[in-house]
Amino acid sequence: MKLGLAIALMSATLLAGTAYAAEKRWDGADDLPVNPLACSAGEASAAPAAKPYDGGQPTNAPDKAGKPISLVDVPKLIGIGYFNATTKGMQDAAKALGNVAAKTDGPTEAKIDEQIKFIDNYITSGVDGILFAANDPVAIAPVLKKALSKGIHVVGYDANSTPNAREWFVNQAEFNGIAKAMIDSMANEAGEDKSFAIVTSTFTTPNQARWIAEMWAYAQKCHPKLKWLETVEAQEDNNLSFNQATTLINKYGDKLSGLFGMTSVATPASAEAVTKAKLCGKVAVVGLATPNAMKPYVNADCVKSVVLWNPVDLGYAATYVMRAVVDGKLKPGATSVEAGKLGKLNVVNGSEILLGAPFIFTKQNIKDFDF
């Protein structure tokens, strides 16, 4: 009986606690600085001063220049469309290069400690290079440093680690670039002074957090009239994302004129929610997603623009970068690297290789992509 009381009190305090916590936050819950791009593509963006190389280096790595190498790719998790695409890119690159054997393996859920175990195993099994997409930039660092210390080359893609834990990071598109693309499309699809809400995976997923942070900064700077309603979590789960999006639609009704999907799972689900609510055209859906999942909505004019880099290219580039590193063609201080069919890719803020500006799928071009 006493316990029952205790619980009642506890819940009361909790509910009270929620009241104060209810204020909405857009800083993406990590405290890194934001760097919004200029509003119109015309004027030069406030490019940060070129940083010196800040990556780490493997200790006495065997010289495999030109020799065949075996890579392992450990993405956040296996078994989602996005990383299937990056894997495809790596296989393409491996084929193109001829002297690279790449293999993808990883946890079935985006769990950092699982991912660490996988990397650790591959360090032991002795590969020449590790490609990774980090579930957590800091948590993954120690095991990556271990890899470096064992003379294994480490290159990241999609989700970065702390710089000194890897040699290079292939950046699909800078956070502020994505942010700009997303906010701009929202502004012109929904309208400058309209309100929108966000469906993300979890507040702890670093990339999503960074994007939201940058979006907030960029909107403040260039579209101050846009109203942010709220952000909801939906894990990496289709139906949950759908439910959350629907809930938002029902909650805000006409007030809501836009939905952001922050993951390739949340975006199609949000689009489906809008379609089901028969609000196509009234509620704009902008988000990151893979084309196949979005085709029905784009073709139905329910979604005008899907923001994404091409993950196949990302995997492709990552593999080429790794090869270049092994061959000694990409050394600290380099300003660019050759990446096969992608041509020359530039090095940005120290030790990142930029894949390019985010790509925007539209009704016209989406049919050309299959991933």
């Binding site: 819950a29 660490i116 591959y122 993954i140 660092a141 120690p142 979890t202």
Partner: protein, 326 residues
């Protein structure tokens, strides 16, 4: 150090058929090691094995009290969430409350123990079935972790703190010492003390245990508190290993831990089981995962193997048990 108590633990506690089950499991493990070792020369290296020890410490620490709990016929599904809650509170109390780190660690352990104690109270005082009580707190503790952390992860601990999780002591991973000590203590406690005997008695016949004047409720309260405490400790080790805290730490640990304990021959119905068995189960799972990975088996296939091993070994155990007609 670790080797000494194991044979003793094995020697007397269990009826011989259970002992047989564990020995058998150990044999299977041994054979598996040989095969995997033959398939990949990097598997059976001291380095790799010790490293696996490092990676499995967190689960191992929780598996010990879970063995106690399952021996009494109970279960604790909330351990994973307690790990998350404790990890968060470690970072939070250090960064936000500004506790000195050692104090923060102590605080974390207290929180873990309290969370476990809360489970225990529900189970002994209100007589809520353990499964239900801990399913509810599984949601609650994870929720608290998320709420308190506000999705912020705490990083940048002082270097000395990483010692626990990342460096070696006498050539053995630091946290492995913790685990080894815990194993020895738990093993002796279960095998040699009146406390351990009480647990077996509860699991085999709670009424008779009560009627024999054994402190049944107190014992239960202790083991659930212990479970929370060890989850807290495991959280500290985990944070020290991965150098950051996130509210989603330890998700799914409960199933790994239960699988370990059950694989180790502890009956889910209570009454039988040994720490020795749990240790073998722990090694079995971790080394199978590792060995298979090294021999090029992918993660998804590996968990299929683990699942199959779990069912089959339990089947064999129960067949032995039936042969014995207990």
């Amino acid at each position: 150090m670790s080797e000494i108590p194991l044979p003793q633990i094995a020697k007397r506690v269990a009826p011989w058929w259970l002992l047989r089950h564990e020995t058998m499991l150990a044999l299977i493990l041994f054979v598996a090691l040989i095969i995997l070792g033959a398939l990949n020369n990097r598997f059976l290296t001291l380095d790799n094995l010790l490293n696996q020890g490092r990676l499995t410490t967190e689960v191992g620490l929780i598996a010990l009290p879970m063995t106690f709990i399952i021996i009494t016929g109970g279960i604790d599904l909330s351990v994973g969430s307690i790990v998350g809650l404790c990890a968060i509170l470690l970072g939070y109390s250090w960064k936000t409350f500004g506790f000195p780190l050692p104090l923060a660690i102590a605080f974390t352990l207290v929180v873990g123990a309290t969370a476990g104690f809360f489970n225990g109270v529900g189970i002994t005082r209100l007589r809520v079935p353990p499964l239900i009580m801990t399913i509810a707190t599984l949601a609650l503790y994870r929720g608290l972790a998320e709420g308190i952390s506000q999705a912020r992860s705490v990083r940048g601990y002082p270097e000395w703190f990483y010692f626990i999780g990342q460096s070696d002591l006498f050539g053995v991973p630091a946290q492995l010492w913790l685990l080894l000590i815990a194993i020895v203590v738990a093993g002796i406690a279960l095998d040699r003390t009146t406390f351990g005997r009480t647990l077996y008695a509860i699991g085999n016949n709670e009424t008779a245990a009560r009627f024999s004047g054994l402190p049944v409720d107190r014992a239960k309260l202790i083991i659930y508190t212990l479970s929370g405490l060890m989850a807290g400790l495991s959280a500290v080790v985990l944070v020290s290993r991965v150098t950051t805290t996130r509210s989603d730490m330890g998700i799914g640990y409960e199933l790994d831990v239960i699988a370990t304990v059950v694989l180790g021959g502890t009956s889910i119905f209570g009454g039988v089981g040994t720490i020795w068995g749990t240790v073998v189960g722990l090694a079995m799972i971790q080394l199978l995962k590792n060995g298979l990975a090294l021999t090029g088996v992918k993660g998804d296939a590996t968990i299929v193997v683990i699942g199959t091993v779990l069912i089959l070994s339990t089947l064999v155990a129960s067949l032995l048990q039936r042969r014995r007609g207990v």
